[in-house]
């Protein structure tokens, strides 16, 4: 044991400490890789962890939740409370409000503040609430974070109107509860009035009596209720939301592993360098009786050192990065999925173990080959001088054969279906493609060096020739570095191409879809599952304007379909306004639109169709207006607005079942002969004091694209980290190379090479590495982007994305990476220049 430690200390630790910069670079690369994994895990958890948390913390003791699309008739509550069991029912109104019409959406919750059942939920007790209800004008109770005080007058934007309330009290924060700090609570009657839901309840929380299972009570209540009402365990909605977000988080997590994979190559490289450097020492130790296993362990210990120290630092970095990532992920979740409030970032034992475990495993795996290589060093051979070159055995032909097999298997895997809606095989395919490409890289480098040498010499000069020779001379090391950078480049390129293609597709779709001249929606930044409404009068009056040719009404309700959130919407489906809707190939739009208004028919968006395996002719059963209603699907249309998907019926169909004519959105078509600005002024007049926003076609599109870009910031951030790791690796490797080749540089100096020439050699090497990696990375990236777009995206999210090269984006990214690589050669170049050739030669 003692001798083992001594061996580790002499053979591993000391050399590492002698080169602090390179050691630090490797440690930091591992740290970044682990950090990103932790950050994404923490942030994803936090961003997904708090749907309706304010409500759950206010009414946390409920067991079941009764809800209904379009609301529950409040008279039902009167019947429920008389059931002969000790249930406790708490009626709720759930809506969002904006303080003074601005800022974040705050949960606005109506509860029965007089019922004794409310006592546990809202302190300080129902009786004093009752007094406030009587003496205060429109009282609300507010979360502590809002900075309001008892007696303050507040103005809240709810739907399209501002309402005035008086703060009757500030809710005490409860221990360990989240989300309650920004909630606004009102008595149920007032909440109904303010949200336009008079006579309706959004949901009824149920606490069940003891002695029977939850399933028993669920069944019992279902029997008492009209069949359109849903009775679900409390928290089911959160569960559904989590399920909906699973694909998103899963893909994000996979992206976060890239930096770790890149880090693996760097560990491999670092350990390889160590092995080469310490051949002499290995020989000596072996000659002194150390067996092969001990040598293997020593180098694995080095990798473990990187893994442990890197992971430890990674934990700290990850925690810090998570703060930023929560914001980015939260943005995406709000824009694409559901209203959520970030939960506090909390380390979970599992998350930490996974990340650290991954860090250690990746480090050890990456070090296996070089450590094994080291153990095979024969004592005598190693002690002979003059064989310091890196001689990783490159058996090109075997490697090429492997590469072909890996690539072929990878390609084949992309044809397999998803497992539980997760594109597992596609991800494995990506790994195979990466492995295959890595295997082929030595041959490519050799080929490149063989064919491009003379050309480069002519272009750049003798330095390029020397750089090229050096790369070729240590082809093993070059290949590893190229592979690491190429993977980072490929990931960047593939995600870039995917996002770019997506963006282009959405943009084209919007060109088709958004044909109206003006769009109206209630003010406030609402998440996609919130559907604030505007009074119908607005639509009616706008339709009467002489300059308006048509008004398209749109009303949306959040629903649950087969355990997943979705949106049910009704819209005007006249030919004029709906002609822009694009259906999947083979569907007859005119025919669909004609039939849609004729009865219980629906069209569904593409993601919905994919998610629920629905196609033209399918029948959807929706619980509506006290019964199960069956809708026949007439067609599937392209839509990029919400991943959870839409079921769209004709306006009149929706009104038949949910006769609430308030609208979520309006699209206004102005007669071609009329001046849009003039019509807009008239519309502003109609809106009057109501908080409704009017967008021109161009503003709406720009806003949508801005939202789109915001939602993908997190992916760019992840790629940037992977690239940083790769570039750090390049710098470290070049530094090692400089030190290893110091005799060569000294000789060159003696032969008349100037300092700048030495520096140029190094920079050329960096540049060549960058060029190779960029080229290979772009090719691999394109292949990966095809998998991302046509397999992973399709299986995870179900969107049809048209392939599109985002040329400016790619150019910018690749140039940036290339420049970073060249810059990574600066410090090693400086180190080489600083060496005193006389001293170096004297070492001999």
């Amino acid at each position: 044991m003692n001798s083992g430690w001594l061996l580790f200390e002499r053979l591993i630790l000391r050399p590492l400490l002698r080169e602090p910069v390179r050691t630090a670079l490797t440690v930091f690369a591992v740290a970044l890789g682990v950090g990103v994994v932790i950050a994404i895990d923490l942030a994803g958890q936090a961003a997904a962890g708090s749907f309706h948390s304010s409500l759950e913390s206010l009414t946390g003791k409920d067991d079941l939740l009764i809800s209904n699309t379009g609301g529950i008739d409040q008279n039902l509550l009167g019947r429920l409370v008389q059931l002969p069991y000790a249930f406790r029912f708490s009626p709720r109104i759930e809506k969002f409000a904006f303080l003074n019409g601005k800022g974040e959406a705050l949960p606005f919750i109506g509860l029965d503040l007089i019922s004794s059942d409310a006592q546990d939920e809202i302190r300080p007790g129902a009786l004093s609430h009752a007094a406030d209800l009587l003496t205060t004008g429109d009282p609300v109770w507010v979360g502590s974070r809002l900075g309001l005080h008892k007696g303050d007058h507040v103005r809240l934007l709810i739907n399209d109107a501002l309402h005035d309330f008086t703060v009757a009290g500030v809710l005490k924060p409860q221990n360990g509860e989240i989300g309650e700090e920004n909630v606004i609570v009102a008595d149920i009657g007032l909440a109904q009035k303010a949200t336009g839901k008079t006579g309706k309840l959004d949901s009824i929380g149920v606490r069940v009596p003891p002695g029977q299972t939850l399933g028993f009570w669920t069944d019992y209540l279902r029997k008492q209720l009209p069949s359109s009402l849903s009775v679900e365990p409390q928290g089911a909605r959160t569960e559904e939301n989590r399920k909906m977000l699973a694909a998103f988080r899963w893909n994000l997590r996979i992206l976060s592993y890239i930096a770790l994979v890149v880090g693996a190559f760097l560990i491999y490289n670092t350990i390889s360098i160590s092995v080469v450097r310490r051949r002499n020492e290995i020989g000596i130790v072996r000659a002194l009786g150390a067996d092969r296993r001990l040598i293997t362990f020593a180098f694995l210990a080095e990798a473990l050192f990187f893994g442990v120290v890197g992971s430890a630092i990674g934990l700290v970095i990850g925690r810090a990065m998570a703060v930023g990532a929560v914001g980015l992920i939260g943005n995406t979740v709000q824009a694409l999925y559901v209203s959520s409030q970030p939960a506090p970032i909390e380390f979970t034992a599992l998350g930490v173990l996974t990340a650290v475990g991954l860090g250690l495993a990746v480090s050890l795996l990456a070090a296996l080959a070089p450590a094994f290589e080291a153990s095979r060093v024969a004592p005598v051979e190693a002690m002979a001088r003059g064989r310091e070159e890196y001689v990783a055995a490159v058996r090109s032909r075997v490697m090429v054969a492997w590469a072909i097999i890996l690539l072929a298997v990878g390609a084949g895997l992309t044809n397999l279906p998803p497992v539980h809606r997760q594109p597992i095989f596609a991800y494995i395919a990506v790994l195979f493609l990466i492995a295959g490409t890595s295997a082929i890289i030595p041959s490519v480098v050799a080929l490149f060096a063989g064919t491009a040498s003379s050309l480069l010499e002519r272009l750049i000069g003798v330095e390029a020739l020397l750089a090229m020779r050096s790369l070729r001379g240590s082809i093993g090391r070059t290949s590893i570095l190229t592979a690491a950078l190429a993977i980072a480049v490929a990931m960047t390129a593939s995600v870039g191409i995917m996002v770019g293609s997506f963006r282009e597709t959405v943009s084209l779709w919007m060109n088709d879809q958004l044909r109206a001249d003006l769009y109206l929606r209630p003010a406030g930044l609402s998440a996609i599952d919130q559907h604030p409404t505007m009074s119908l009068e607005i639509a009616e009056q706008i339709a009467k304007l002489p300059g308006v040719s048509a008004v398209d009404r749109f009303r949306a309700y959040p629903i649950t379909y087969q355990g997943l959130p979705a949106t049910l919407a009704g819209t005007d489906t006249t030919f004029e306004t709906s002609a822009s809707t694009k259906f999947l190939p083979g569907e007859n739009r005119d025919q669909i639109l004609r039939r849609l208004s004729a009865g219980d028919y629906a069209v569904v968006s593409e993601p919905f169709a994919n998610k629920h395996n629905v196609h033209t002719g399918s029948v959807l059963t929706l619980p509506l207006a006290r019964a199960e209603r069956r809708f026949t699907v007439l067609g599937v249309y392209y839509d990029y607005a919400a991943e959870s998907g839409y079921i769209v019926v004709d306006w009149n169909t929706l009104m038949r079942y949910l006769p609430d004519p308030e609208v979520s959105n309006l699209a206004v078509y102005v007669k071609p002969s009329e001046d849009i600005t003039a019509v807009r002024r008239q519309i502003d007049g109609i809106i009057g004091g109501r908080a409704v926003l009017v967008f021109s076609n161009a503003t709406l599109r720009a806003g949508a694209i801005a939202t789109f870009d915001r939602t993908f910031r997190i992916t760019y951030a992840l790629e940037a980290v992977a690239v940083i790791v790769a570039v750090m690796g390049i710098a470290g490797a070049l530094l090692a190379m400089v030190i290893d080749r110091r005799r060569e540089f000294a000789l060159l100096r003696f032969l008349g090479a100037a300092k700048p020439q030495i520096r140029r050699i190094i920079l050329c090497e960096a540049g060549l590495l960058g060029l190779l990696a960029n080229g290979i990375g772009l090719l691999l990236g394109t292949a990966l982007s095809l998998i991302l777009i046509f397999v992973i995206n399709k299986q995870s999210f179900g969107w049809t994305i048209q392939f599109h090269w985002p040329v400016p984006l790619l150019l910018a990214a690749l140039t940036g990476i290339y420049l970073a690589t060249v810059l990574a050669g600066l410090y090693p170049g400086q180190t080489a220049v600083r060496m005193n050739p006389i001293e170096v030669i004297h070492e001999e």
Binding site: D112, S115, S116, G125, L134, G189
Partner: protein
């Protein structure tokens, strides 16, 4: 009697009585069955059921189920609102208590609701008053048969009540006066002997119970005199088929108010008013509540010389305190008790209920 008054009054303590309520004045003509139900013109109203029950094996229980209604004056703008369903203009409080006399345990719970969309209420048309799934439904308005049902997480009580005597009107000239000012009283009727039979379900299967119950119904608009500290109220059902209701109002200085009074119901069902000078109530042994610190005299000597009635009251279950614990609703003692003594020198025994308020410090009104 005027017991739970305080609990409900708290609600409107801060809402000044802007509204013109009907006063409980002498000369009031009762109309039945109309007056068995609610009187929204009066501010406060309650229906109050207590009873002593026995299972087949002799196990004794006591129960209390009380419905309070409180009319609340609302600002005029609130009244004009288009949707009045959730307006808290009628608030209903209910208390449910079970005394497991031989099991030595006491359980009570309360609930508060506004009328809302059928959450609570009282209605002649529906022949019932209710608060959630606590309900009394009149099966026959003419016979006065009623069905009482209450569910809580500890037990379910279902009792059929059959009047053995007609309802009696307490007080004089249609009003039970509680203070010197006009209107400082209530309209007060009692069913002093209701045959009770039904089922009590605690854990497992329901057990059949039988016994005798008492019902009070009162409505009025004026709160109690501020000089009063509390009261002691007795419902007494003797085995000679006579009943007594007595209450004494205690002033803050510890004296018996002149407006204390009672009703004697003879075996034929005829009621006789008892004024303050006709009876004396003498407290005996004291039980101290560890929860509230209140000291309740749980045994009493009752003397009505004019009727040659000498009774002593005792309880087998000392702890029948309804402890509110919230500092807002009052804490008081209300429990099943038994009586023994002499009426016209003949030995009698009896059961009934005793209520004592204001022993844990003066009642507080409003917070």
């Amino acid at each position: 009697m005027k017991n739970k008054l305080g609990a409900v009054l708290l609600l409107l303590a801060c809402a000044a009585s802007a509204q013109q309520w009907q006063q409980a004045l002498p000369g009031y003509q009762f109309q039945f069955p109309r007056d068995y139900f609610n009187h929204p013109d009066y501010r406060t109203e309650w229906w109050y059921y207590t009873g002593n029950l026995r299972a087949a094996d002799g196990h004794r229980y006591g129960f209390e189920l009380t419905f309070f209604r409180q009319g609340i004056p609302l600002p005029p703008q609130a009244r004009s609102s288009e949707d009045a369903v959730w307006l808290p203009d009628q608030v209903y409080l209910a208390h449910l208590a079970l005394s497991d006399i031989d099991g030595g345990s006491f359980y009570h719970t309360e609930r508060l609701n506004r009328a809302g969309p059928g959450l609570s209420g009282a209605s002649l048309e529906q022949q019932r008053y209710w608060n959630g799934n606590w309900e009394v439904r009149w099966n026959s308005l003419s016979a006065g048969t009623q069905h009482l049902e209450a569910v809580c997480d500890r037990f379910t009580l279902k009792i059929d009540l059959t009047p053995q005597k007609q309802a009696v009107i307490n007080g004089r000239n249609g009003v039970s006066q509680k203070g010197p000012l006009p209107g400082a009283g209530s309209h007060y009727i009692s069913f002093t002997r209701l045959r009770a039979s039904g089922a009590l379900k605690m854990n497992g299967s329901p057990i059949a119970v039988n016994g005798v119950a008492w019902m009070d119904h009162e409505y009025f608009s004026e709160p109690l005199d501020r000089d009063l500290a509390g009261w002691d109220w007795f419902a007494i059902q003797l085995d000679n088929n006579e009943e007594l209701m007595l209450y004494q109002l205690r002033t803050k200085s510890g004296e018996k108010s002149l407006y204390s009074s009672g009703t004697f119901v003879d075996a034929a069902g005829k009621s006789h008013f008892l004024d303050v000078s006709q009876f004396s109530l003498t407290p005996g042994a004291v039980w101290r509540s560890a929860r509230s610190g209140a000291r309740y005299p749980i045994s009493w000597k009752i003397s009505i010389p004019s009727l040659q009635i000498e009774l002593s009251e005792q309880t087998a279950l000392q702890d029948q305190e309804l402890y509110s614990g919230n500092g807002i609703t009052p804490t008081y003692w209300e429990g099943a008790v038994s009586y023994a003594g002499q009426v016209q020198r003949r030995a009698v025994r009896g059961v009934g209920y005793l209520e004592m308020t204001g022993y844990g410090g003066p009642l507080r009104f409003g917070e």
